[in-house]
């Protein structure tokens, strides 16, 4: 789809978030400023998270509590190798079946996200506020 502004990217995330279930992993791919955090915020809202959702770049992980599931919002920007991600303990988060995991800069740790159930979202710049959003793999668990 084509998102014409940050609001429509957030709405896309909101709709995706409403369909997710515990154990689901969403891998976000896209460059700086392509709208990954905005999309993640939408997912959080769709899960019923009401508090502010800011970039987890520095903290690597932000945890939120949604209506039914917890959300781990993870950013691999500062962790650029698979080894570093493993040392960091990423597996702990990815294996939590009571939480949804959203990973920004997922391309940096592609081998750790090779599972076919991972929902992959690709964001790219078109112009100014316009972004292209492509989603591969539809959430199998619980989606209509």
């Amino acid at each position: 789809m084509v998102s014409i502004n940050p609001e429509s990217t957030e709405t896309f995330g909101f709709q995706l978030g409403q369909k997710l279930n515990g154990g689901d992993i969403v891998a976000l791919h896209g460059d700086l400023g392509s709208g990954k955090t905005v999309l993640a915020r939408g997912i959080a809202r769709g899960l019923g998270v009401t508090e502010p959702v800011a970039s987890p770049t520095y903290t690597i992980v932000q945890e939120y509590t949604g209506r039914q599931w917890a959300l781990y919002h993870i950013d691999m920007y500062r962790i650029d190798t698979v080894e570093a991600a493993e040392a960091f303990g990423l597996e702990y988060y990815l294996s939590d079946q009571s939480a949804i995991v959203v990973v920004e800069w997922a391309e940096r740790i592609a081998p750790l996200l090779a599972d076919e159930n991972v929902i992959r979202v690709y964001l790219s710049h078109v112009e100014q506020d316009v972004r292209k959003i492509e989603m591969v793999t539809i959430p199998a668990s619980g989606a209509e």
Binding site: T57, V61, F88, G89, H125
Partner: protein, 372 residues
């Protein structure tokens, strides 16, 4: 009272020995040790296991520097939130171990509040003077950009926060776009000194018009995501960098040439970030009639921010306090210092003390003696 302060919330393993809240007898961070290669030259990083490797040598060095031993301790303070859980747990477990072995209290300290305390480490008289309050504190770092209101009688609350990126992150990401080194703040600060900050008008996130009494729900909030994207588009439009696409990240290619025009761009970008920080802080100070404005956290090392904030706060007739650089970046002294006041107020923890990832709702600060 000698307090050991331990900080392991993020990149640094930091330890300090602080006497009576303000007399810093040792203040050691693991990156200092790494430079001296005392433990194999491992560069400190986020992994909990790096904190685990670093904590013993860092604590031992602190005791050596202070000429003290573990038997001299009266209490242990430790950052227990917010931060990375596995990293925090290293410090929390270590602190509990020492407390149990020595039969002394352990105190969990909020990292965010400790940053504010950091501005007062070398100013005990100001902290204990009721006339210093109310305080508006801007905590600005790689992980935080928030305004806290502190009142002398012990209430504290967050009155503004970033909706997206932290200010330090805005510098780090700009540095990444420009192929500069990490962390981005210091290098952007340095380059900006050679550029014209007025050359390019980058947007100020959630700007409130001068003298406006409102500004809506986001009057005191920050946003730094837009300015980052503006920089990207400016550079692209003016041919400095390759257009971004999903496959080629900014890791490839040569850095752009830093001609005068690009130095102007960097200086202008820094200006937009600094102006947002100054504007919102001044609005908060006016809204809550603050007697004192405090700026702390890693980005408080930025020379332009220190200069512009000092001028603006003084112009507004309020007192201005900025933390010393060694107490701006993550350190153990701010933890050990603040822990002292919790111990004085008998607000200590037991061995059920746990680590928390999020910045919890902050509603109180210790009542500092003399400000009661």
């Amino acid at each position: 009272m000698l307090v050991l302060g331990i900080e392991t919330s993020c990149d640094e393993t930091a330890v300090a020995l602080v006497e009576d809240g303000h007399s810093v007898r040792a203040n050691v961070i693991s990156s200092q040790i790494a430079k001296h290669a005392q433990y194999g030259g491992v560069v400190p990083e986020l992994a909990a296991r790096e904190h685990l490797k670093a904590i013993d040598p860092v604590v031992n060095l602190a005791f050596r520097e202070a000429g003290a031993g573990i038997a001299d301790l009266d209490a242990v303070g430790v950052t227990n939130c917010p931060g990375l859980i596995p990293a925090l747990l290293v410090g929390v477990s270590y602190a509990k171990g020492i407390a149990a072995a020595r039969g002394i209290p352990v105190v969990g300290v909020n990292h965010f509040l400790a940053h504010i305390f950091g501005a007062f480490i070398d100013r005990p008289a100001r902290l204990l003077d009721a006339a210093t309050f109310p305080v508006i504190a801007l905590v600005v770092s790689g992980g935080h950009t928030a305004l806290a209101l502190l009142r002398g009688e012990g209430d504290c609350r967050i009155v503004g926060t970033t909706l997206d990126d932290a200010a330090g992150e805005a510098f780090d990401k700009a540095a990444k776009i420009l192929h500069l080194s990490y962390p981005g703040g210091p290098v952007i600060d340095k380059l900006s000194q050679q550029g014209d900050p007025g050359a390019v008008a980058f947007p100020i996130g959630l700007a409130v018009r001068k003298d406006s009494k409102n500004g809506g729900a986001n009057r005191l909030n920050f946003s730094f995501s837009g300015v980052k994207t503006s920089l990207l588009y400016y550079l692209k439009k003016h041919g400095y960098i390759e257009p971004p696409n999903a496959t080629a990240a900014f890791s490839g290619g040569a850095p752009p040439d830093f001609d005068d025009a690009l130095l102007d761009v960097v200086a202008s970008y820094q200006e937009a970030v600094v102006d947002a920080l100054v504007q919102k802080t001044l609005l908060a100070a006016a809204d809550y009639d603050a007697a004192t404005v405090v700026v702390c956290g890693g980005v408080a090392c930025n020379s332009r921010l220190r200069h512009k904030m000092a001028a603006a706060v003084e112009h507004s007739g309020r007192d201005f306090i900025v933390a010393r650089p060694e107490y701006c970046t993550d350190n153990g002294a701010m933890i050990g210092g603040l822990a002292y006041y919790y111990v004085c107020n008998s607000e200590v923890d037991d061995f059920s003390l746990d680590a928390g990832a999020r910045l919890m709702c902050i509603d109180s600060i210790p009542v500092f003696a003399g400000t009661r």
